[in-house]
Symmetry: C2
Subunit: 556 residues, 2 copies
Amino acid sequence: MPTPGQGGGGARSRRLGGWGFEGEGFPPSAELLAWLARRLGEPLGPFPSFDPARFRPPPARPLPEILAGSTDPLDRLAHARGQGLPDLLRLRAGTVPALPDAVLRPDDDGEVERLLRAAAREGVLVIPWGGGTSVTGGVNFLPGEAPAVSLDLERLSGLEALDETSGLATLGAGTPGPALEAALGASGGGRGFILGHFPQSWELSTLGGWAATRASGQESLGYGSIQELVAGLTLIAPAGRLELPAFPASAAGPDLRHLVLGSEGRLGVITRATVRVRPVPERMTVAGTLLPGWPEGLAACRELLQADVPLTLLRLSDEPETEVALAVGLGGRGGLVAPLVRGYLRLRGIHGSGCLLLAGAAGSPGAVDDTLERTAAVLQRHGGVSLGESPGRHWLADRFRHPYLRDALLDRGIATDTLETAAPWSRLPELAAGVRRALEEALAGDGEQVAVLCHLSHPYRDGASLYFTLFYRCPADPEAAVARWAAAKRAATGAIVRGGGTLSHHHGVGSWHAPWYEAEVGPQGRALVAAAAAAMDPAGVLNPHVLLDPADRLEA
Amino acid sequence: MPTPGQGGGGARSRRLGGWGFEGEGFPPSAELLAWLARRLGEPLGPFPSFDPARFRPPPARPLPEILAGSTDPLDRLAHARGQGLPDLLRLRAGTVPALPDAVLRPDDDGEVERLLRAAAREGVLVIPWGGGTSVTGGVNFLPGEAPAVSLDLERLSGLEALDETSGLATLGAGTPGPALEAALGASGGGRGFILGHFPQSWELSTLGGWAATRASGQESLGYGSIQELVAGLTLIAPAGRLELPAFPASAAGPDLRHLVLGSEGRLGVITRATVRVRPVPERMTVAGTLLPGWPEGLAACRELLQADVPLTLLRLSDEPETEVALAVGLGGRGGLVAPLVRGYLRLRGIHGSGCLLLAGAAGSPGAVDDTLERTAAVLQRHGGVSLGESPGRHWLADRFRHPYLRDALLDRGIATDTLETAAPWSRLPELAAGVRRALEEALAGDGEQVAVLCHLSHPYRDGASLYFTLFYRCPADPEAAVARWAAAKRAATGAIVRGGGTLSHHHGVGSWHAPWYEAEVGPQGRALVAAAAAAMDPAGVLNPHVLLDPADRLEA
């Protein structure tokens, strides 16, 4: 569990053309670089870094007075793209094709209303901005369009109200993860309150962004995903304001919260949300176990979930991911399993790398012990060998630093991307194999290898999420690099759809998955979302390329 | 837990003008009648029963050939109204103002599609029919409109597929509760599977109806409400078909399931759903405890929920309901707490009736014991005195028979109705008091008393549902009887909205709550639902008076 406030705060400045904050980083270990070189061959050479001196911004187009905002070129550039790999490639190379004409930072709901009404009237496109961490092209500006602004919600931040009796906190949508947990942790008696929503983007992403993309934190098994955590919200759109009160449950018609959650800025701008919070647990622990293989691990995870063991986190790495995590260290440190231990594991029936399983529990010390004992009993039946708390401690310590690794690898000419899906248990084995196969073959035309890691996470009684990390050699030419990424992305997304997985478990649709959206919800599903968008935003000025625009924007 | 198949099945015939099946009943005990007479005065005389000989059906209007169906007058009458109190009053008195012109019973999705397209083309209104147990005017035909048909889904029934690994069962929307649990119980190895959705209407209501009204079963605390249980579904509308696949979770845009759940037939006809099922638990027990008072009971319930004690059911009756349930017996049996026990309770600090709390647990015998021990420890801290399993056993045995009591009381001139809401914990005390006050004063203009019982049920970490039962003397004149009901209903609904409760926790909006719907979701919320309805049903032929029609239909 992060210390509230850790890593966040407004004092540090965001890095342009990379993850996180200036001065932070997570360099790869020599072991990881060697592992990648064995899989992919030696890198082709470094990928360029962002150079402000070479940056030539397109001039900001004129905007009506009411939509005046920051036109600082670097501010505009910082709001032009999300954090997907092609975003980083273009930001670093200086080939971002379009910038917002201004960055607007409204102070309150009233100003959001005025701005959106003006934008609709004047035909100015508006892309809402929370933490800007979309990895699906969810906040990207495109060339050759109407004037467009980024609506940065950073001033709509902080705790507005706390109902301690009901465990309901109302916060501004622009509140980032660390500030949110810091405010809750300082509230109420004793240890304070916690939301418990910890996506990998936690240090940067915001409450409104989580809600708009139906995000899940890494401990969603215990705390719930954002769709369970958001009890009420305010959405402001050109057509008006939608205020959904926080009820514990309701049968008063369709649950409109779920139309707003996942709407990705298309239906309006979320300006605040009321979330379900709970007292900070006394203890949180993550136990590591090595399972003999992927099938045994899947069976163990399913059994734990269907037995209602109250875990807060469950992650199962496949053999390649386990090899990277345990044998060579994912990032800055070496292997976590020493050669001597390997001999013991062979005695226990684990001959290859095995599959690393992390199981987290939170609550009173007695409850945590009880949960981990129940978990260990199940895992032992499936051949698990306990690794104690060391792998979990390392994972917890580094989990918000992993995204920095991508920049450091790109510096060395290695491209890294992640993608994810979810499906019922019965489909997971074939789906995992199909996506892996599609990725491994995706760059065969270029004569290139793709190294693929996979883990299961966010499990449910009826299924789970699968999360893939891929590595391949990155050409130094930006267009070639983007094209290589797009080839892998197309291959993986096709395999997900063919394999019966959802387009996304927690990354969203954005503009990059939009061409496949109708395959998931059908023409009537698409028509329903389009009708809702038209009701809130008749002029169609809000984030017009996410969800419903079927054009392939992977290389845009 | 009901025995699968208990009470259901197609062999018995539904009673016209009353609850349930011919030959079944639940007469009031002499003690209950005496309690009511003390509260309300002697009844004014019996309310008429339905007399088929006096029934004069309006002639069925001609329909296009493609919409031909049953025009049997009693079949049409049986599909004209739901099971709200004014429905019963009108059915019994023979004053139902409008009947469907035919009852259609499609055999499959293709026929539903053909019928809906034809109805939209021909301007024929369609009201989908599951179990017909709406208590919110959700399936009612109105006079003076276009030709109208009831679409009875009874043939779309039964288990279509079972994924045992994932715990996912696909069933026809017309499957009623007992048939559904019987099919699941007979599936898989061992004890079979269970959905665990047990609304009071369980013997009659159907999977499609539960989904269309966002229903909750009495054990939703353990199994989840229908919005958690439905993983996927098929919705057929004049504009086309919406197939939502069963994913464990997804961030691929808004969760459209939640637009269909609670749509009350307005967006289309649900023809099947895939639901999350689990193995039948080894044991299910309900423990009874008497709390000193309502505030102590509320505090205890909140503590149990916020401590994540894994109960399947939690109900807290206020003092009047406890008095009726324990001292005089709610139905056919006498008091459950003998006078000798009363002396003991006084010694333990419970001087009045106290507040009865029922707490249910399910699972392995060890898990059930553990849950009930944790529960007892919390309840004892709040002054609870254990009553053992006897009150829970009686409640379980009678829970699906309680609705029969309403008919038996009406035979004796006593009107009974129920209504419900939900709100955060912080608002519950004032909300309960406000609704009680509004109901008790509602018939003061007639010089009549209203006896009000209340219980808390369906609790959540952040709040709970409140469920009210009211009794008053029913005039024998049907119009006067409906007007008296409408006065009480208006008073209660106004108090719910003013007190910050939702219009409904599990009864839905229907046509009767529709005038208050905009107060809950605002004009933009209403506009979103209207836009969705227009996308699925541009001609507006589907159940046109539910949700969005603001006209007061309480006396229609």
